[in-house]
């Protein structure tokens, strides 16, 4: 459609203005030409002068229930962004979902929702979503598909043949039950689960030690001491929102007695979780086993258990550190937790052994009510690949998965797929695999259909539609029911299953009727039910073997570490411009994946950020730009998954198309490159490590769109006075020092000479914010929340490189170098709503002025775009619309929040403290004839924060939470010395780092 318009437009232009050199205009323009042009111009002017266009107001024909047009309604549902199953509230306005927020009542996610989950809303309005079933790439009718598939399946039932159903982790009990019923009608049928970031080894290790393949439910809220080996549980690992909320609940610094869990992190690359750890050790990937060995030996001695057999090599760490850690773990037994991300089953078995020695099973690890958030079984996947290669599969169903993209050796699989007589892909949008399927069955977005989820045993939640489906998608249960000749709607199937299976498990007394139970669950979004008795056996110590020592590579090759990014959990989100433009919390890169090298490794290679390197892994080769990443082990190169997807090919024309525009896509026509090719199969698990990768520098450059460089609040070295290069932007201390009253920086008590007369009224509320840097994990959920709430456009890679990204709220990342690594601090930075705002005094047209309630207001219709205010803002938070950043996909207009103006070209904008939410809360309080209460107003960033790091409220009310925090000892204001009197208070960063470790790092 867009291309048609473009063609039309260019034709009109050529009619009106003949180009010089055109045949018809070879001579100078004639009188007739002039008149024609003049007439055209007059006509155009006159048409432009008519009254405003007629606006129609279409009312409902039949008024639906209590729905009032113009009011927002929230519906409790379950997030379908990944398989963590967080609870959410879908805010709908006039029938359109416009925002997803965390459900504060949900026992797992506790009100938070991650960046990817919130951004999945945009998938609903994706113009390239499949609307009709396809046969070999052409739209067809459901009837045709059903007839053909049923005939083929009938043939398999009669004549035999293997039916395989491949999917990601299915959370829905109804869907799973129906799938088992469907597969039960064949002699040889199997359901194979794979996760694009697999944790198969954890499940397999529990099969070894507990006799049942399961993923324990990690209870981080009960853990006082946390030791993590590469597990990025605050960023991407299994259920990051749940873990962040639980982790936060164990770190309450502002209570009467400061309480903080102790978190030690061992990893090779710098992850989000590692950056938040109290102590972080950079180790080579192969050294995990050795450290686990040493901890196991020490703890087994303390527990009086025989040390298991196996080799024990030299520890890569100082023995004192390990002694101290073992001592701490032992004193916190039953209240500690060891997490490990390794895909090596033997490593996971030793990890289980440690947790067993510490008595964590039953305390911080729940195996009675396990988690279903990752069910992938790599062994089964490998078996399927072998079967496919041998041509033994008669029908292959693929549910919302893209193995051609996610698994290594795609070429072989592509050929193998050609030999399967029936390939059916259930997909929301065309991906690599669905392109090669015989039939593609479009599935609805999770906001369009009924389903359910059981992320953790005993916690069932409902997924309810918030809008009617677009096109004619069909959910998995509906399709399966149709192919079993019992067509039924997803709602009927769901209710029938719940009445039969879930309702009897409801344990509330007195037991409500099914209808009451259903209504209650639908209202709450979830229900707690009993679980069948667990079949786990007691821990089998005899299966534990210590790990063989690993030999570090000596030939200059690197180990490739493949990870998932916080903003891009897997390739299924690659269609989403919000996530593509979300800066990675650590690297601050948008619109790409890259090869992270430590400064030392990059120096050895002679490469700098932006140089393309060739990573030669033998069978597979990957070319990527380098990103120099401090805090990383010198022997590794880290690359993110989820890029180079077919879904990202749509961004060819994102961003303004002007003379100097540069493409967002790389040479391959995609965003980034696919690192899945470098995954390796070993020991029946899919390994995210690949040893022996040889890097070579190429002559090419691939500039990265980084945001941190130009947002830094540090004084540039060439401008700074000696000793003033570092401003105290982050206040940092340790728990021990905090107890002694040391908050990390001296408070600036000096009275400033004030040029401003106190002309701002101080009665009534003064809106302000407190941001706890200690709680903030940098997960960037707030950035996306702000973007969705405030209609912030995406601008494309080239514009980001020109420092024109539009995020009102960004997260600044600061490194502090210390021996043996770096400390990382995150600082959400937004308009500080200064009392003495430097932006206000320079605006020549009074487009930015101070409000009665302390808000720094930006009036778009007054702004003429001088950009003086942005130049004068010390926090660099003002954003200018260099273009009309229209959506590439006009369907995206449906996600716009009607309460917030869409800004046009030439206008400055910035954080408004969600002033529309303030107005709404005030009006609603007025309607209820009551005063505003503390907590009535929650800004979008505050609402979404899984760590509850942001508190908003009235600074003039001494009883409000925000003013209590702002007057606490940890509170400070950034760049307070400028006397701009910001309304945002930051609470200093506190690490629970023992004095011994402090001395190590400073010594």
């Amino acid at each position: 459609m867009a291309s048609e318009e473009k063609v039309d437009g260019s034709r009109q232009a050529s009619l009106a203005l003949p180009l010089v050199g055109d045949d018809s205009a070879a001579s100078s323009p004639s009188r007739r030409d002039f008149l024609r042009l003049a007439g055209f111009a007059l006509g155009a002017t006159l048409t432009g002068c008519q009254r405003a266009p007629v606006q129609h107001a279409l009312a409902y024909v039949n008024q639906p229930g209590d729905l009032v047009p113009g009011r927002s309604y929230s519906y409790a549902s379950t997030c379908g962004g990944c398989s963590a199953g967080c609870g959410l509230l879908a805010t709908t306005r006039d029938g359109r979902p416009i925002k997803l927020e965390g459900n504060p009542e949900h026992p797992l996610s506790r009100g938070g929702l991650c960046a990817a989950g919130q951004a999945s809303l945009l998938g609903l309005y994706d113009g390239q979503r499949l609307e009709h079933p396809q046969q070999r790439g052409r739209d067809t009718e459901w009837l045709q598909v059903d007839l053909a598939v049923r005939a083929r399946l009938e043939d398999i039932r009669k004549n035999g043949g293997a039916v395989r159903f491949l999917s990601g982790s299915l959370l829905g009990p109804t869907g799973s039950a129906l799938l088992q019923q469907f597969l039960g009608t064949f002699a040889d049928a199997r359901h194979i689960v794979y996760d694009s970031s697999s944790h198969s080894a954890i499940l397999a290790a529990h099969a070894v030690t507990h006799g049942v393949r399961l993923l324990p439910h990690y209870r981080l809220d009960k853990a006082q001491t946390l030791v993590s080996f590469d597990a990025d549980f605050l960023g991407t690992w299994i259920s990051p929102v749940e873990f962040t909320a639980a982790y936060r609940s164990g770190r309450n610094i502002d209570g009467a007695e400061p309480r903080m869990s102790y978190h030690v992190h061992f990893e090779s690359r710098l992850s989000l979780t590692g950056s938040k750890a109290d102590e972080r050790f950079t180790i080579a990937p192969g050294e995990v086993g050795s450290i686990l060995n040493h901890l196991a030996t020490r703890l087994a001695k303390k527990a009086g258990v025989a040390v298991p057999e196996g080799a024990s090599a030299e520890s890569p760490l100082d023995a004192g550190i390990l002694d101290r850690l073992a001592e701490r773990l032992w004193s916190d037994r039953g209240r500690s937790l060891i997490l490990c991300d390794s895909q090596d089953v033997d490593v996971q078995v030793v990890c289980n052994f440690l947790n067993h020695l510490l008595g964590n099973y039953g305390a911080t690890l729940d195996v009675e009510r396990p988690s279903y958030q990752r069910q992938g079984d790599d062994r089964e996947v490998h078996k399927l690949l072998d079967e496919l290669h041998a041509g033994k599969v008669a029908a292959l169903f693929l549910y919302q998965c893209d193995p051609l993209h996610d698994l290594p050796d795609g070429d072989k699989l592509r050929d193998d797929l050609k030999r399967v007589p029936l390939v059916v892909s259930f997909a929301e949008r065309t991906n690599e695999t669905s392109q090669r399927a015989h039939y593609v069955c479009p599935t609805p977005h999770f906001l369009e259909s009924w389903s359910d989820a059981e992320p953790v045993a005993g916690l069932v939640s409902l997924v309810q539609p918030a809008i009617a489906p677009r096109g004619e998608p069909r959910s998995l249960p509906e399709s399966l029911a149709a192919w079993m000749n019992k067509p039924q709607s997803d709602y009927d199937l769901l209710r029938a299953h719940w009445e039969k299976e879930i309702y009897p498990r409801a344990d509330k007394l007195p037991k409500p009727s099914f209808q009451a139970f259903w209504d209650r669950t639908l209202l709450d979004g979830f229900a707690q039910v009993t679980t069948p008795p667990s079949k786990t056996k007691s821990f089998d110590v005899s299966k534990v073997r210590l790990l063989p020592p690993s030999s570090p590579s000596k030939d200059g090759s690197l180990t490739l570490v493949i990870y998932s990014k916080v903003g891009m959990p897997d390739a299924s989100h690659a269609y989403n411009p919000w996530l593509q433009e979300l800066p990675d919390p650590i690297s601050k890169v948008t619109w790409d994946n890259y090869a992270c090298l430590s400064p030392e490794a990059a120096k050895r290679l002679g490469a700098n950020t932006g140089d393309v390197v060739r990573l030669d892994g033998g069978a597979a080769v990957l070319e990527l730009p380098v990103l120099v990443q401090p805090g990383q082990h010198d022997g590794i190169v880290a690359v993110a998954l989820g890029y180079g997807s077919l879904l990202s090919a749509r961004f060819a024309s994102i961003g303004p198309q002007w003379l100097e525009a540069k493409p967002t896509l790389g040479h391959n026509g995609r965003v980034g490159s696919n690192a899945a090719e470098m995954l390796t199969w070993s020991g029946d698990t899919l390994q995210r490590l690949r040893a022996g990768v040889r890097p070579t520098k190429t002559n090419r450059q691939h500039p990265l769109a980084l945001t941190q460089q130009y947002n830094l609040l540090d004084v540039p070295p060439r401008l700074a006075l000696p000793g003033q290069q570092r401003r105290p932007i982050i206040h940092e201390t340790t728990l021990e020092r905090l107890r002694r009253g040391d908050v990390g920086a001296a408070h600036d008590e000096e009275e400033k000479a004030d040029l401003w007369t106190p002309d701002h009224a101080s009665e009534g509320p003064h809106w302000g914010m407190a941001i706890d840097l200690s709680a903030c994990t940098g997960c960037s959920a707030c950035v996306v929340a702000c973007q969705v709430e405030n209609n912030i456009p995406t601008v494309g890679k080239d514009e980001v490189r020109r420092q024109r990204e539009m995020h009102w709220l960004r997260i600044d990342r600061y490194y502090t170098e210390r021996p043996g690594g770096v400390d990382v601090a995150y600082q959400p930075m937004l308009c500080q709503h200064c009392g003495n705002a430097p932006c206000e005094v320079v605006c020549p047209v009074l487009a930015t002025v101070h409000g009665e309630e302390g808000l720094n207001q930006q009036v778009y219709n007054r702004c003429v775009g001088t950009r003086y205010c942005a130049n004068n803002c010390p926090y660099l938070v003002r954003r200018f619309n260099w273009f009309d950043y229209a959506h590439d996909d006009t369907m995206h207009n449906l996600v716009l929040n009607p309460d917030v103006t869409v800004r046009s070209r030439g206008v400055m904008e910035k954080c408004s403290f969600c002033v529309h939410r303030i107005q709404e809360a005030k009006i609603e309080a007025g309607r209820e004839e009551r005063a505003l209460r503390d907590g009535d107003i929650r800004t979008a960033c505050q609402q979404s924060c899984p760590a509850q790091a942001i508190v908003f409220g009235d600074l003039n009310d001494p009883k409000s939470r925000v003013s209590k925090l702002a007057s606490g000892s940890r509170a400070y204001r950034v760049l307070e010395e400028l006397n701009v009197k910001p309304s945002v208070n930051y609470l200093g960063l506190v690490r629970n780092r023992p004095a011994a470790a402090e001395e190590n790092s400073h010594g």
Binding site: A52, V61, N62, V859, I923, G926, R927
Partner: protein, 218 residues
């Protein structure tokens, strides 16, 4: 000489007459986007004079969002049917038919006003006022009279709650056959009222209307 003096006189005359003409025009000059006096033809000749004036139906009966939502709202077709299920034409016409039928000694025929036919069509009803599955439901394309630019956010709720009469902004709608925009809905007009009411109050009640930019612009 003569011709140049004549030319001066002519030019002066032109200047005077032009300034008179333009002066009159400029006195009525309105800013771009000002639609004061806008009185569009509606798809159904709905009379506010009849409903709000003669019959004295409260504004909020139909525009029920005014105290609950930022939009006062336009009633759904189904709401009209609360009365128009029975009232299918003007009472005069219905009474006339009853009298004629009595005189002719026949049962009275239903009388349906041609304007109300449009309402019944929108609801997909047949002649017997029963839902006709063959007919599609079509919302009535009312033409919006009071339009504000997208950069200003007006909310009905606080105004209704403060006790501001609907007529203060919308004019004497109860006298209008077809709704007309009476006020110019400019920012100056809004701010004036906010300032005056801040001093004088509404109906003797003290109110605190904000004159902050962010009261409307966000």
């Amino acid at each position: 000489m003569l011709s140049s003096r004549l030319l001066t006189v002519v030019l002066l005359l032109v200047l005077v007459s032009a300034s008179v003409v333009l002066g009159v025009r400029f006195r009525n000059y309105s800013l771009p986007g000002n639609q004061q006096g806008y009185e569009p033809v509606q798809p159904i000749a709905f009379s506010h004079r009849l409903h709000a004036g003669d019959l004295q139906i409260a504004c909020i009966y139909c525009h029920s969002g005014a105290d609950r939502s930022r939009h006062a709202g336009i009633p759904a077709s189904s709401l009209c049917m609360n009365c128009h299920r029975l009232v299918t034409a003007s009472p005069d016409a219905m009474l006339q038919e009853v009298q004629q039928a009595r005189q002719a000694g026949r049962p009275p025929q239903p009388v349906i006003s041609p304007e109300l036919v449009k309402l019944y069509d929108s609801l997909g009803l047949d002649e017997k006022m029963q839902p006709d599955p063959a007919k599609k439901l079509r919302p009535i394309p009312w033409v919006k009279v009071h339009n504000l630019p997208d950069f200003s956010c007006f909310d009905h709720r606080p105004h209704v709650r403060a006790g501001v009469e609907c007529q203060e902004c919308h004019g004497p709608v109860q006298t209008m056959e077809r709704v007309r925009q009476v006020e110019d809905l400019s920012m100056g007009w809004c701010v004036n009222c906010h300032r005056e009411k801040g001093i004088a109050g509404v109906d003797g009640k003290k109110v605190k209307p904000s004159t902050d930019c962010a009261a409307c612009h966000y």
